[in-house]
């Protein structure tokens, strides 16, 4: 199975808007789900005005909530 590449922005805006919650949400997934995900952090995705921002398999989603993120990758 191809892994989802999830890149969470940890730039200043996204940090303030809850990047940590996004990371935690992904890290909190059960083992087999987590295995299908490659989680990374990246600097500013140039979507600060809509932060927090995430890039999933190359496509940017902003703003996004932890719930929305989990839905998209599971």
């Amino acid at each position: 199975m191809k892994k989802h590449l999830v890149e969470v922005c940890i730039g200043t805006s996204c940090h303030l808007m809850g990047a940590q919650d996004l990371i935690r949400a992904v890290q909190g997934l059960p083992g087999e789900k987590l295995n299908s995900i490659q989680l990374k952090t990246v600097p500013c995705l140039k979507s600060c005005d809509k932060s927090p921002a995430v890039r999933i398999n190359g496509q940017i989603f902003a703003p996004i909530t932890p719930e929305e993120l989990i839905k998209k990758i599971t």
Partner: protein, 382 residues
């Protein structure tokens, strides 16, 4: 070549006393460092006041560049003499070390200083003269890289009286210990700390007197260059990155976008982490060849907070980006800021108090704070 004078001191109060009867003042000047030590007669509050007064007066007069005679005369005339014992106030030792290593020492009733060259205590040739009836000893000498000089109060020399020894450790005993510590290749900090512990042990942990030791030596200056903020003019991206790449000493980048610019312009890889050591400080990143890569605004503000913590320049010990940055700054002597002034539009929308949100303001406050900590700071705007 010019060096930096590194100085460390530590005191211990007499057992049962809260206040220390020794006092130290340090004055950092453009051309060097002045260290003043005074030991007030007796112990407790009175001794503390006497010693503090003596050092404060001395440092005040030295700052005004008054000649030595006048300084000593003023001190002799200003300070009271003990009515009971008819002996004077407090001792005084003043040591000025210039950045090129020239040194000048004056001693007034204080124990002879310890000068270590190649790990061995060497005699200092003291000239004697009398001012207002007081015997003043002075020496001009040269400190080289690897030499140490220590000033002590007599509580160090007498360590052990009432404890392990009848007559105390003595000057030679202290000299031996210092030679041993120097042979261990310890940092100056550790040497001073250990000497204090040794004396405390001789007193069987109940010192019969206040004691203080000041250590100083020369070292090569430590340089740090910080790149932060994207330049207004994108054609400066390359220049700014090159400037950091070629800087001597340590290299730091503050800001995700800045890190991206540097990585792009130099072809280095930027690696981000998600290790939140402190929930308020975004995680650090890595770029090969750069000593520290942090987020920008929030980290800088937090670093400033650490450096402005009342009372001291104590090292923050955390592993978050701001603590790491504060440590790098505190350990450096000359700091060069490369600051890009492009406004990050996104930050304007953030709900930050105005003065936290503007990079140039944070940098300016950081620079002022660092100058207050005797750092040499240069800013280059882009």
């Amino acid at each position: 070549m010019n060096f930096v004078v590194e100085d460390v001191y530590q005191s211990m109060s007499r057992y049962g006393e809260e206040l220390c009867g020794d006092h130290v003042e340090v004055l950092k000047k453009e051309d060097g460092t002045i260290l003043v030590l005074s030991d007030g007669l007796g112990s407790g509050v009175k001794a503390n006041i006497l010693a503090t007064l003596t050092t404060k007066i001395a440092i005040g007069l030295i700052e005004k560049n008054l000649p030595l005679e006048e300084i000593i005369e003023t001190i002799i005339e200003t300070l009271p003499i003990c009515e009971v014992r008819e002996i004077a106030y407090s001792t005084l030792a003043v040591l000025k070390i210039y950045n090129d290593g020239r040194a000048y020492l004056i001693e007034l009733d204080s124990p002879p200083a310890f000068f270590l060259k190649q790990g061995k205590v060497q005699p200092l040739y003291m000239k004697e003269r009398r001012i207002k009836g007081k015997l003043i000893k002075e020496a001009h000498f040269k400190l080289e890289l690897g030499d140490y000089i220590f000033l002590t109060s007599d509580g160090i020399i007498h360590a052990g009286i009432g404890g392990l020894m009848d007559f105390g450790l003595g000057w030679d005993g202290v000299a031996n210990h210092l030679e041993e510590l120097a042979a261990e290749g310890l940092s100056l900090n550790r040497m001073v700390e250990k000497m204090i512990k040794i004396c405390e042990a001789y007193y069987l942990m109940e010192p019969g007197d206040d004691f203080t030791i000041i250590g100083a030596r020369l070292r090569k200056p430590r340089y740090l260059t910080i790149m932060t903020g994207p330049p207004i003019n994108p054609s400066d991206d390359f220049i700014m990155s090159r400037r950091l790449l070629e800087a001597r000493g340590k290299k730091v980048i503050c800001g995700g976008t800045t890190a991206q610019i540097f990585a792009r312009e130099t072809g280095c890889e930027l690696e981000c982490t998600f290790n939140y050591v402190d929930p308020d400080v975004p995680p650090i990143s890595f770029i090969e060849g750069v000593d520290l890569v942090t987020e920008g605004l929030l980290t800088l503000n937090r670093t400033l907070e650490y450096l402005q913590r009342p009372g001291d320049s104590e090292m923050p010990l955390g592993k978050d980006g701001a603590s790491l940055l504060a440590r790098e700054l505190l350990e450096s002597d000359e700091i060069h800021f490369l600051v890009g002034r492009a406004v990050n539009e996104a930050h304007q929308n953030l709900d930050l108090p105005v003065n936290l949100g503007i990079r140039t303001q944070v940098i300016k406050r950081l620079v002022n704070t660092l100058k207050g900590l005797n750092k040499k700071v240069k800013i280059e705007w882009f």
